[in-house]
Amino acid sequence: MRVSLLVCGFGTLLALVAGSAIAAPYRPQADSEVLETLPAGPASDRAARALRALTVRDPGNLDLALRLAELQIARARGTSDPRELGRAQATLAPWWNEADPPVPVLVLRATIEQSNHVFGAARTDLERAVAAEPKNAQAWLTLATVQQVTGDLRGAGESCRHVAETAIALVATTCRASIDGVSGNAAQAYDALDDALIRSSSELRKGETSLRVWATTLQAEIAERLARPDDAERLYRASRVLDPNDAYTTAAYADFLLDAGRDAEVLNLIARDTPVDTLLLRRVQAAARSGSADAASSADDLGQRFAALRARGDRVHLREEARYTLEILKASDAALDLALDNWRVQKEPLDARIVLEAAIAARRPQAAGEVLAWMEATGLEGGKLRELARKAQMP
C-alpha cells in the first residue's frame, strides 16, 4: 500500500515535471497561426450563445435555463467535452443548491452529478423525481443507469420495469438487457435485443439512431460475454456504421480488438490526436503492445492528462488510470489501489476486470475477494473475466 502510494506520488510528480518541461509559453509570429479549434458545430454554438444571452437577462426563468442546460448536456455528449457539463451546472445555479427543486432540474442535476461520479446524490435526486412523477420515463431510465453502474442490479431491474410502462419497446428492452447482460442472463438479453431491434426497425425514425447505437453496442458487448466473437464483431461494426463518432462504442470495440490481439486495427480505429481520454488509453495500449513508433509519446500525453485531472482534484478517470498504471507504468500495486478505489464507486464488468488484472499482477489476489464474491453473486458471464477469476483464486 505504502509502496503504491509512493509510486503514485512519483508518477504524478514525473508527469507534472514532464508537463512543465513541454509547456513553454511563446509569442506566435503570424496573426494567422491557429491557436485553438472550437469543438462544436456553429449551429449548436449559436443556439447556446443565444440562449445564454437570454438567461443572463432573465436569470430566474426556469424554462430558459432548462432549455439551455439540456442543450449544454447534449453538447457534452456530442463533443465529449466535459466543460459543457460545468456550464450546464452554472446554468442551473439558481436551483442547484435547492433541496427540492422542480423535477426537470432534479433530473438534469442528477445527470450532471452522475457524470461527475457523484452517484449517491444523483440517486437521491432521481428517487425524489420519480416519487413526484412516477411516469417520468427519463428519470426512471437515468435511475436505472445509476443503479446499474453502482452495482445495484436489483434496483436497476425495478427501475427498468417502470421505464417499460411508459417508453417505447426498444428503450425498455435495452434497459432490461443491460442488466440481464451482466447478471447471468446474457443469452436471454441477447435474444431480446435481437427481437427488439428487428421489430423496431420500422418504428424508429431517422433521428433516433442514438437509440439503435445504444442497443446494438450493448448487444455486441453481450455477444462478447457469450463467447460469440463473430457476432460481436458484426454488431460493433453495425453500430459504428450508424454513428462512427460514438466514443462509447469505439472504446468497447477497441477493447474487443485488444483482447483479440488485433493491435494494428486499434491504431487505425483511434487517431493519435483523439481528444477523448478513454479512446487514447486504448490507442496507448495498442501502441505499447505492438511497439508502434508513437507508443512513448502517446503514453506521455495520456499521463499528462491524468496528472492534470488529479491536479484539479477529479476522481472520475480512476478506471482508465488504473489500466494505464498497470499496463503502461507497470506499477501493479498502484494500479490495484486505483482499481479498488474505482470499484468502491463503479461496478461494471470493466471495473471488475481491472481489479482482477491488477490483483494478479501485484500478487495480492486476496485484494480481489470482493470482486470475486460479486461475480459469484451476480453470475456475471464472460470468458476473459472467468479466466482472470480462476487465476485470482489459484493458491
Binding site: 494567422s32 491557436l35 485553438e36 447534449a74 456550464r87 457524470s115 461520479h117 427519463q138 477523448v276
Partner: protein, 376 residues
C-alpha cells in the same frame, strides 16, 4: 414523449464518461520577491471564447490575430476576476505581456502578471472568481513560489474563492517533512534493506569464538557493536546516496539491485559460515555504499527541484535513518534478551539467516535475470 425519451438516450454514454480531456482549469503561478509579485496566468482559449466570443470571423478557430485584437478586453476581464492583497491592503495587478501555450486540453493565453504590494509579502490573500458564473466545474490551480523556491499550491472552486497563503512558513519545513516521510516509507517498504540490517544485527549480541558464537556479556557491549555497525552503514549509504542524487556517479539500476540482493545473501550466509571480514562495521560500510545507490534511484525518480535538492536529500536520509532506528530499537533488545538461551546462537540465528539467505537468492535470481516469481 419521444422527445423526452430521446434526450434520455444521452444518459448511458454520459454515465460511462467517454469524456475528453478534463473540465475547465486555469493555471496561476505567482512568484513572490520581497514586495512584488510576478507571475503568469494560463487561461483556456475555449473558456475565454465562451465569455468574450473570440472567434471574430466565426470559422470555428481562434487565431493569434483574433486573440491579439482583444487583449484589452481579455485583460479587463481577467483583472476583474483576480485580486491579491495582504492584510486588507491590495496589491494592484497589471498585465505586462501576452503569450500563448498549449496544455493537455488545448490552447491557452498566457497573461504575464505583475503586482506591487505596499509592504513585504508574508501572508497573501488571493480572491479568484474567474468563469465560475458560466462554468460551475471550473477550477483555478494556484502555484505559489518564493525566492527560496518553496512552493504552496491551492485550488479555487466556485465554493472556495478565497485562499490565504503564507509563503514564509511554507515552508522549507513542510517540504522537509514530506521528504522525511518519503524516506521512512522507502525503508519500511524496502524489504531488502530491512533484511540486510536484520542479517547484520542478528549476531550483534554474540561474539565469535573460533567457529562458534557465544553471547556477549553486557548490554553496553552489544550496544557498542550495534552502534558501530549502524553508523558505518549510515555513513556509507549517505555518501553514495548523495553522489548518485547529485548525478556525480551513476550505476545501472538492475546491477545495483542485483548487488544489493547479493549483499543480503552474503551477510546472511556469513552468519552461518564466516566468509566476510570479522569486523561487522567494515561489512556494513562496504555494503552500505551499495544500498545508498538503491535509495538514490528512488529519490531521483522524484526529479527534485535543484533549489531544494540539499534539503530534500537530507530529509530523505533522515527518514531512512528514522526507519532504521525503529528497526534497531525493536530488534536489538529482543535478540539481547534471548541471546543466552541455548537455542538462539544455534537454531535462532541459523534459521533466520538461512531464511534471509534463501529469500535474497530469490531476489538475486529475479533481478539478475529480470524475472519475477516472489510475492515481494
Amino acid at each position: 414523449m419521444i422527445a423526452r425519451i430521446l434526450f434520455a438516450l444521452c444518459l448511458p454514454s454520459v454515465a460511462t464518461t467517454a469524456l475528453a480531456h478534463k473540465p475547465s482549469d486555469s493555471y496561476l503561478t505567482l512568484r513572490i520577491d520581497e514586495t512584488t509579485i510576478d507571475g503568469q496566468w494560463d487561461i483556456a482559449l475555449r473558456d475565454l471564447d465562451a465569455v468574450l466570443d473570440l472567434d471574430g470571423n466565426a470559422d470555428g478557430r481562434i487565431d493569434w490575430g483574433e486573440l491579439r485584437r482583444r487583449f484589452a478586453e481579455i485583460d479587463a476581464y481577467a483583472q476583474s476576476h483576480l485580486a491579491l492583497s495582504l492584510a486588507g491592503a491590495s496589491c494592484p495587478l497589471s498585465i505586462a505581456d501576452h503569450e500563448v501555450d498549449r496544455h493537455s486540453d488545448g490552447g491557452y493565453v498566457v497573461l504575464i502578471l505583475h503586482a506591487a504590494c505596499p509592504s513585504r509579502v508574508d501572508a497573501l490573500a488571493v480572491d479568484y472568481s474567474l468563469l465560475f458564473d458560466i462554468d460551475a466545474q471550473h477550477r483555478g490551480l494556484l502555484k505559489l513560489e518564493s525566492g527560496s523556491g518553496s512552493v504552496a499550491s491551492a485550488v479555487f472552486s466556485a465554493s472556495s474563492r478565497r485562499q490565504s497563503l503564507a509563503p514564509a512558513e511554507l515552508s522549507a519545513f513542510r517540504q522537509f517533512r514530506a521528504y522525511v516521510a518519503d524516506g521512512i516509507q522507502h525503508i519500511a517498504a524496502g524489504f531488502d534493506h530491512l533484511l540486510f540490517l536484520v542479517a547484520l544485527l542478528l549476531p550483534s549480541v554474540l561474539v565469535r569464538n573460533g567457529r562458534r558464537w557465544v553471547p556477549v556479556t553486557s548490554f553496553p557491549r552489544a550496544l557498542r557493536s550495534v552502534a558501530g555497525t549502524v553508523t558505518a552503514f549510515t555513513a556509507a549509504h549517505s555518501v553514495t546516496l548523495s553522489l548518485a542524487t547529485l548525478s556525480i556517479v551513476s550505476l545501472p539500476s538492475r546491477l545495483v539491485e542485483s548487488l544489493i540482493a547479493l549483499s543480503v545473501l552474503l551477510t546472511a550466509v556469513d552468519n552461518i559460515w564466516p566468509i566476510l571480514p570479522r569486523r561487522r562495521w567494515q561489512v556494513a560500510f562496504a555494503f552500505g555504499l551499495l544500498h545508498g545507490f538503491g535509495f538514490a534511484s528512488v529519490l531521483m525518480d522524484l526529479k527534485l527541484p535543484p533549489s531544494s535538492l540539499a534539503l530534500s536529500l537530507f530529509g530523505f536520509n533522515v527518514g531512512v535513518e528514522i526507519g532504521q532506528l525503529v528497526l534497531v530499537l525493536v530488534l536489538v533488545p529482543l535478540v539481547y534478551l534471548v541471546r543466552d538461551t541455548r537455542t538462539y546462537p544455534r537454531a535462532g540465528l541459523t534459521f533466520a539467516s538461512l531464511f534471509i539467505a534463501l529469500l535474497s537468492s530469490g531476489w538475486l535470481i529475479e533481478r539478475g535475470l529480470d524475472v519475477r516469481f516472489l510475492p515481494f
